[in-house]
Structure formats: structure tokens, C-alpha cells
């Protein structure tokens, strides 16, 4: 993992931010994360959610190379989850398959993943490439930038009442051939209007 450029905060501040909670974590400055390998609470939750999606969404057997091949979660560009991803990979499994987090350098690498997380920093061009690549494949593309669903993504994270919520683009999921548990669908919320614009709002 690489430290983000232009980060003015030290690691100790980040620890403090985790301790203080969501109010601070929700601020975009902090959301960018510190250089230290400790994830903010928001990305800790998001990492956990990514794992949980694997529990409520079914992948066809053909999506896996073999019976023992891992369940791959791809992170496009930079990895904001830091140690949270490692912890999940160490402790959890999807069925009997181990979980593997991969950092994707190019959109084309997404084809070997089952879930791809697209951080908000992705450029519209790369996002477009990714979404094109995903078409007709059993890949659940999860994003966090405004209007992610509207531009064809499957799941979009957003913050509401200091909680991480998600919206599901049922049409896209169905097109990808991924059955989604009704339990997950009942938990999905429509994204509020300011999360639907193409640019994320400055809050």
C-alpha cells in the first residue's frame, strides 16, 4: 500500500480520529486517510460490508477457476482499507473459499475479481472502462462516488446519519447474473440526491 500524496496528518492524529468516531471520520479530509496502515472507521466498515456482500450475493460456480480457488475482492487504484482488508482476509471465508484482496492497477484486471471496489478517486474515464469491462460478467462493482449507480455501478456506498449505507442497482445486478438475497435488498436504501450527482459534494 502506498501513502497518499499531500496528506498533512500524522499517524497519531489518525488514531485519534478513529477513537473520536464517525463525526470526524465522515469529514472528507479525514476520509482521505492518513499515511499510516490503519484504516479509518468508515473504511473498516466498508471493508466489512464488502465481505458481507459476498454472503448475500450468489456467484455461479463458473465464476471460479476451481473448487478451491479464492474469492477475490479487487480494489481499484489505491487501497483505503489498510489493515482492515488483511484482517478480513485472515479470518473470513466465503463458503470454503479463502478471501483475497487485490489492488487493481488497470481496469482490465477487474475481470478476475468477484467484487471490485472503486474508490471515489477514480477518474471518470477509468470508471467508464471498468463498467464496460464488467458487462455480462459475474462481477459486483461497488463504488462510493456520487452518481455511481446512475453511471452503471452495482452497489454504491454513501453516508447517511453518520452511518455507512448502500444503494443497489437491481437492474445492473440482474444483468450481471448475480442473485441478491432479499435480506440484502431490504437493507438497501435509495441514495440521497446529493450522492446521485456525478461529482461528490464537498461536505
Amino acid at each position: 500500500m502506498k501513502a497518499r500524496p499531500g496528506n498533512p496528518y500524522s499517524a497519531s492524529y489518525a488514531v485519534a480520529a478513529v477513537a473520536i468516531g464517525l463525526t470526524l471520520a465522515a469529514s472528507p479530509v479525514l476520509a482521505q486517510g492518513p499515511a499510516a496502515p490503519v484504516a479509518t472507521r468508515e473504511y473498516r466498515i466498508k471493508a466489512a460490508y464488502l465481505y458481507q456482500f459476498s454472503q448475500y450475493v450468489g456467484w455461479p460456480e463458473k465464476a471460479f477457476a476451481s473448487k478451491t480457488s479464492p474469492f477475490v475482492i479487487g480494489i481499484y487504484g489505491t487501497n483505503p482499507f489498510a489493515d482492515a482488508a488483511k484482517t478480513i482476509a485472515k479470518k473470513k471465508k466465503v463458503g470454503k473459499r479463502p478471501i483475497e484482496f487485490r489492488v487493481l492497477k488497470s481496469p482490465s484486471a477487474a475481470t478476475k475479481c468477484h467484487i471490485v471496489f472503486v474508490p471515489s478517486r477514480v477518474t471518470p474515464e477509468n470508471l467508464k472502462k471498468l463498467l464496460v469491462l464488467k458487462k455480462n460478467k459475474s462481477i459486483l462493482v461497488v463504488g462510493e462516488s456520487g452518481g455511481f449507480i446512475d453511471s452503471g455501478g452495482d452497489v454504491q456506498f454513501f453516508l447517511m446519519e453518520n452511518k455507512v449505507r448502500f444503494a443497489i442497482n437491481q437492474k445492473a445486478v440482474k444483468a450481471a447474473g448475480l442473485p441478491v438475497s432479499s435480506k440484502l435488498l431490504t437493507l438497501a436504501k435509495p441514495a440521497p440526491p446529493h450522492f446521485r450527482r456525478s461529482e461528490p459534494p464537498r461536505r
Binding site: 454472503q55 448475500y56 452511518k163 435480506k183 440484502l184 437493507l187
Partner: protein
């Protein structure tokens, strides 16, 4: 106390009680066991039911828990509204923090802490807690369902009501069914009891109990009948014996009254004899007294006569002396001198006859002096004899009224004599006489005086006892010797003498008796003094008896100097 009350119940009630208690006990125990079983079973099945419901709900809430969505979980719990039995439900996350909750009354109960998984009963509620697993079989939280036990309790109350009704019905039934049986049991017993009561109250032992059955009660009846006939027989015997006894008592009473009459006659006879004896005794004493006085008078006159002899001689001697012949010669000399008055000198010196006159006168003077001396001596003798007579008369006077005839006697026999004089009145006043008479030497005393004192003291004591109303009247006579004295004590437990009375009891005129004149004890004390002894009294006070003590010298002694006035 309680057991005594049960014991006193009639047999009829006891049998009824037995039936009642056994039926009630069986029913109550049955119902209690049934209710307990039902309660436990109902609780268990409810717990199971709630457990499966909790599992279903938990599975549905797992996703909401995982994605931290309490609203959705809350909506899930709201579906419990269709189960009115459930009063509240809570979902806690895996850390034990309350995630969401549901309450039937919408009264949001304060976030109750998570309880341990399993079944708990608290505050009248059954609480079932189950863990919630996510799709990866990982524990993500807990769900708790609370059910009010009111449902079960209501059902139990209904059962209890049914039980009471059943009990009442079965009691009535069992009592009415047991009635004939009880009657057959208690009927003969009650008849037996009635018969026993009649027999006891009216003393009628002729009745018999009907023997209705051949069981133990029947045996009891026949035994009772046998006992009654025995009692009847023995009562007849007793009655006969009683009549015989009465007859005998009557006979004996008649005999006794006859004997009593003759005894009374004898007693009056004896009294008369006693009176006669007393009269003759008095006469005798009078006679003796008169005889004694005559004897004394004779003695005195004899003594006086003797002295009078000497007086007579002295008087004769004086007379002889006074008729001396020389006294007539002096008259002749005086005549001669008268005749020779003129020549008296010549006559005396010259005349032959006259010359002898002076010598004669000298001789005459000598003779006269000798006569005078003799006369003086005789007169003295005469005076002495007259004094002697005076003394004899004085001695007689000093003994006047109480002649001191001293005799040697046994004091105890004197006491016995005195008691004998009062014997009848002792029995009349039921006075017990106690004698504590010691061995005494013979004493020389004036017996009548002594008797006067002792009889007086005993009479006094008897009167003191007669006035006292005590149950036990005791007169104690004591005699003993002490040094050269003998002592007689007369003690009683009669009315006693107050302290102020002790001082003047021997005074002349002092008395406590209605008819007394206060002379008896006074003269007794004087008599004791005259015999050289003393009479004293001691008493602890009114109603506490008195003791009189007579002390006499063994040898007669000169009377004490002073007498009590």
C-alpha cells in the same frame, strides 16, 4: 389444645372429618401435582415456541445487524405485534449493546441489559435469549423475547376454579355416599353412648343396648350389657347392705341416747353429791375453825391464868408490906409527943419514956426504907406480869383470822387436790391440763393458806382460758425445787394480762373480771408473803397467756417484813 378439641368431637363428626380430610387431601394433592406439572409443561413449551420464533427472527435480523441498520431490524421486530403474548423483544449486538427493541405497549422500556442465552424467568416474565448467526455462521448478536407468564397464570387460575368446583361436588357426593356407612358405624356407638349417659344420669341400670351387628361394636354392646347387669346386681347388694347398715345405725343411736340419758342422770347425781360434799366440807372447815379458835382461846387463857397467879402473889405481898405493925407504933409516938408538947425538950431528955423516942424514930425510918424497897420490887414484878399478859393477848391477836397450824406435806398432792376441785369446770370449758410436777421434798407449810393460794391461781387461769376463744386451751402446772425453795407455776394460754395490768395485778381492788372484787390475788400475795415466800406474775401481753409463780421456802420462815397494801 387443638388436639383436645378434636378428641372431644363426637364420633359422628370424627368420621365425617375423616372422610372429608381424606377426600380433600387426595383432591388437593392431585390438583396441586396436576397444576405444577401443567405449569412446568406450559412454561417449557412456551420457551420452546419462543426459542424457534427467536431463531427465525434472529436469522432475519442478522443482515440488519451486519449492516448496522437498526431501523430495518426494528421493523422486523414490529412484526411481533401479531403475537400478543410477547410483551417485549430486544436485539443486542455481539458486544452486548442494545441494537433495537420492541415493546408491546410501545412504552419504550429503558434499554435492558442483555441476558445470558437460554431461558430466564424474571419479574413474572419468561425471557428467551438466542444468539444470532450471520450467513457465515458467525455470532453477530443476540435476540431476546419476553413473554408474560400471565397467560399461564390465567390458565392455572381457571384450573383452580374448576378444581374448587370439583372439590365441592366431590365433597357433597362423598359425604352423601358415606352417610349410610357412617350411620351404620356411628349409630350403634351413639346408641351405646346414649345408654351409658342414661345409665349414669338416672342410675337406671336396667336398660340394655340393642346389639345390631356382629363386628367390634356389636361385641362392645354385648360387653356393655353384661357390665350393666353386673352393676345392677352389685347396686342391689349395696342397697341391701345400706339398708342393713341404716337399721344398725338406728339401733345403735337409740342405745347411745339411752346410755346418754343414764349418764346424764348419773352426772346430775354426782353433781348433787359433789355439792353435798362441798357443803359438808365447808361445815367441817367451819367446825375446825371454831374448834381451833376454842383451842387457842383455852391455851391463851391458861397462859394468862398462870401469869395472873404471880400477879396475885405480888398483890398479896404488897398488901402485907403495907400492913406493917410499926406504922401503928408511930401513931403512939405522935400521941406521946402531943401530950408532952409543953415540955418537949425535958421529955425527950429527962423523961424515962421520952428518952427512947429518938431511938425509936431512927429504927422506924430504917424499917420504912426496907419496906419501900420491897414494894418497889413487887410493883416491878407486877408490871412485868401485866406486860406478859399483854404479850400473850397480842400474840393471839396476830394469829386471829388465820391460824398458823404448820404441817409437813407433799406440795404435788396439794396441787392435785386443788385440780380435783376444779376438774368438772375443766371439762366444761374443754381445758387441757398439763402436769409437769417434779420430785419435791416434803415442805412445812400452813396447808389451808397454801390451798387458798393454789386453788385461787387455778381458778384464775381457768377463767382466763374460758374468756379466750382459742381452739386449744392449755393449763400447765409445774413444780420444782430450786435451792432451798420450792416453786409452783400455774401457766395458761388464755387472755393474758396487758403490760400496765402486770404492775397492779396484786393491788387490792384490781380486777379484770366482771364479777370480781380484786381481793383474790391480793390476799394470795399476802398469804405467800406471810408464809415467807412470794407470788409473781409474767405475761407476754393481751391474749398471750400468763404464768403465776409461787415460791415457798422449804422450812417455815418468818414472814417477810412488808405486805402489799
Amino acid at each position: 389444645m387443638k388436639s383436645r378439641a378434636i378428641q372431644n368431637l363426637s364420633i359422628r363428626h370424627k368420621v365425617s372429618g375423616l372422610v372429608l380430610v381424606s377426600v380433600l387431601l387426595a383432591l388437593v394433592l392431585c390438583c396441586a401435582a396436576f397444576c405444577a406439572n401443567h405449569y412446568l409443561y406450559a412454561k417449557e413449551s412456551m420457551a420452546q415456541e419462543m426459542g424457534s420464533l427467536a431463531e427465525v427472527l434472529g436469522a432475519n435480523a442478522a443482515a440488519a445487524l451486519v449492516f448496522d441498520d437498526p431501523d430495518t431490524a426494528g421493523q422486523l421486530l414490529s412484526s411481533l405485534r401479531r403475537q400478543p403474548v410477547i410483551t417485549s423483544a430486544q436485539v443486542h449486538d455481539s458486544d452486548g449493546a442494545l441494537f433495537c427493541q420492541y415493546s408491546k405497549d410501545d412504552a419504550s422500556t429503558s434499554s435492558s441489559p442483555r441476558i445470558e442465552p437460554g431461558v430466564t424467568t424474571r419479574n413474572g416474565e419468561l425471557m428467551v435469549c438466542r444468539g444470532i448467526l450471520d450467513e457465515g455462521d458467525e455470532l453477530v448478536g443476540y435476540i431476546t423475547l419476553s413473554v408474560g407468564l400471565d397467560v399461564i397464570n390465567d390458565r392455572l387460575a381457571r384450573y383452580a376454579a374448576i378444581m374448587v368446583v370439583v372439590m365441592a361436588v366431590s365433597l357433597v357426593l362423598s359425604l352423601s355416599l358415606a352417610w349410610p356407612l357412617q350411620k351404620s358405624l356411628t349409630g350403634p356407638l351413639l346408641a351405646l353412648a346414649d345408654a351409658a349417659e342414661t345409665a349414669g344420669e338416672h342410675e337406671d341400670y336396667s336398660i340394655r343396648v340393642e346389639q345390631s351387628s356382629k363386628d367390634e361394636i356389636g361385641t362392645l354392646c354385648s360387653q356393655f350389657n353384661r357390665m350393666l347387669s353386673r352393676v345392677e346386681e352389685s347396686e342391689r347388694e349395696i342397697k341391701a347392705a345400706h339398708e342393713l347398715l341404716e337399721e344398725r345405725v338406728e339401733q345403735r343411736t337409740a342405745e347411745l341416747s339411752r346410755a346418754n340419758e343414764s349418764l346424764n342422770a348419773e352426772i346430775s347425781e354426782r353433781q348433787r353429791a359433789e355439792e353435798e360434799l362441798e357443803q359438808s366440807h365447808r361445815d367441817l372447815v367451819d367446825a375446825a375453825r371454831r374448834a381451833g379458835m376454842a383451842e387457842i382461846a383455852t391455851g391463851v387463857l391458861h397462859n394468862v391464868g398462870n401469869v395472873l397467879n404471880s400477879v396475885n402473889i405480888s398483890a398479896s405481898t404488897i398488901g402485907e408490906r403495907l400492913s406493917n405493925p410499926r406504922r401503928r407504933q408511930i401513931d403512939r409516938v405522935i400521941e406521946l409527943l402531943e401530950a408532952n408538947r409543953d415540955r418537949i425538950g425535958e421529955y425527950l431528955t429527962v423523961d424515962g419514956q421520952g428518952k427512947h423516942v429518938p431511938a425509936f424514930l431512927a429504927e422506924f425510918a430504917d424499917s420504912l426504907a426496907a419496906d419501900d424497897r420491897g414494894l418497889i420490887d413487887e410493883t416491878r414484878t407486877l408490871a412485868e406480869n401485866i406486860d406478859h399478859i399483854k404479850a400473850i393477848i397480842a400474840t393471839q391477836q396476830s394469829f386471829a383470822g388465820s391460824v398458823g397450824l404448820l404441817e409437813s406435806l407433799d406440795l404435788n398432792s396439794a396441787i392435785e387436790d386443788a385440780l380435783r376441785l376444779n376438774a368438772t369446770s375443766f371439762t366444761r370449758h374443754s381445758v387441757a391440763v398439763v402436769r409437769e410436777l417434779g420430785d419435791l421434798p416434803l415442805v412445812v407449810v400452813d396447808k389451808p393458806r397454801l390451798m387458798q393460794i393454789v386453788v385461787n391461781l387455778i381458778k384464775n387461769a381457768k377463767e382466763a382460758l374460758a374468756e379466750h376463744e382459742s381452739e386449744k386451751k392449755v393449763l400447765t402446772l409445774r413444780s420444782y425445787s430450786s435451792g432451798d425453795e420450792v416453786v409452783v407455776e400455774v401457766a395458761d394460754n388464755g387472755i393474758g394480762i396487758p403490760a400496765e395490768g402486770l404492775v397492779k395485778i396484786f393491788n387490792h381492788g384490781f380486777t379484770t373480771k366482771k364479777n370480781g372484787h380484786g381481793f383474790g390475788l391480793h390476799s394470795c400475795a399476802n398469804a405467800a408473803r406471810q408464809m415467807g415466800g412470794s407470788l409473781t406474775v409474767a405475761s407476754e401481753g393481751l391474749m398471750r397467756g400468763a404464768t403465776f409463780t409461787l415460791t415457798l421456802p422449804m422450812q417455815a420462815r418468818e414472814p417477810a417484813a412488808e405486805t402489799v397494801s
